[in-house]
Amino acid sequence: MATEHALTPSGYIAHHLSFDTAKIGAGNFWTLHVDTFVMSIILGCISMGLIWSVVRKSSSGVPSKGQAFVELLFGFVDDQVKNIFHGDRHSFIAPAALTVFVWVLLMNAMDFLPIDVMAHFVYGPLGLEKWRSVPTSDVNTTFALALTVWFLMIFFAIKSKGLKGWIHELFCSPFGTNPIIWPANFLFNMIEYISKPLSHSLRLFGNMYAGEVIFLLLGLWAATGLTGTIAGAILGAGWSIFHILIVVLQAFIFMMLTVVYLAMAHESH
């Protein structure tokens, strides 16, 4: 725990939950969370880079251990997509799902890094006092992913049904084609379109953010004395182990929702 922030609990938590920001323009909008962005880029490069380096040497013969692992991942994602989407999944949805799963999984997994140890021994010496490790506990990341999926969803909806078909669907489903119920249909569809990215992103964000906060609270407890240190260490270990489940589960759910939304966009009602 960084000494200058150990004095008050609120200071400690506020310190750990604030971002390393950079102004790139006037106004509140033009701030970039450097920590979130850099961590996610690094993790993206590591994940897809590793997979790419394995895939580049892939052979159809006996696979190497690395290739076997990547193929396991591939098979897992491909199976999930196959069950949900029945079109040509290899051109977009399945690779997108693999990207989402691997990337989000790694970003979530940053939660395993012990926050104070990282702050004190890694980020502190680098002069990154406010650095946060977990990109997915930044709502910007989850919204970015969810909105990208959302735009892709609309893009595929228009692509598979045509602009006219899509607009027709906005007004004429799910209740019927009668002009009297067009407003009801439209309202219904709007709620659906708004709730999708919200629930998609906030589910992941909430889980990761809450996980981080609990680690912080346990860290606070650990600072209160010997009893607190022991209890905090035990509970922290327990929470970390439970977090393994949450990290993987949330990455899986995020991928599944991505696939489901994109698959639904291809179906006409």
Binding site: I24, G25, N28, F29, W30, T31, L32, H33, T36, F37, S40, I41, G44, M48, I51, W52, V55, R56, S58, S59, S60, G61, P63, Q67, V70, E71, F74, G75, H90, S91, F92, A94, P95, A96, L98, T99, V100, W103, P135, D138, V139, N140, T141, F143, A144, L145, L147, T148
Partner: protein, 156 residues
């Protein structure tokens, strides 16, 4: 919770990652896996073919084997029959030969006996004639009574 430019940056990063995956990661992997699947399927089909061929071949060989066995036992049965026949023939031949030899011997013995009888008869008749000559002396003419003497000799 402050939504800002980070969102745009992350969205761009995300999109770039997806495009990267679609372009460079997914196709070679898919290709490798599908090629292997095909190879495995081909291999399995070849194995299946080989197995059915082996089955047929073993069936054929079993047929050939039982055929050969049947023929062998047939040949053995024939040979046995033939051997029995030869033995039987040999026995018959030997028996008839023995009979013939015995018959010849018997005939010879009979001939010998007859000859001996004849000789004996003649000697007896001579003896009888000589005895009668001695008894009757002149009364008997050998020439006139030879017919009677011969008849007597024959009756002996």
């Amino acid at each position: 919770m402050d939504i800002g430019f980070t969102l745009v940056a992350q969205a761009i990063a995300f999109f770039v990652l997806i495009v990267f995956t679609i372009k460079f990661v997914w196709p070679p992997l898919l290709n490798a896996i599908e090629t292997r699947q095909k190879e495995i399927a081909d291999g399995l089909a070849a194995g299946e073919r080989g197995r059915s061929e082996l089955e047929q071949a073993s069936k054929r060989s079993a047929e050939a084997l039982s055929d050969a066995k049947n023929r062998a036992s047939e040949i053995i049965a024939q040979a046995e029959k033939r051997a029995n026949q030869i033995i039987e023939d040999a026995k018959n031949t030997a028996k008839s030969e023995g009979d013939r030899i015995i018959g010849g011997a018997k005939a010879e013995i009979e001939q010998e006996v007859n000859r001996a009888k004849e000789e004996l008869r003649q000697q007896v008749s001579i003896l009888a004639v000589a005895g009668a000559e001695k008894i009757l002396r002149k009364e008997i003419d050998a020439k006139t009574h030879s017919e009677i003497l011969t008849a007597i000799a024959k009756e002996l």
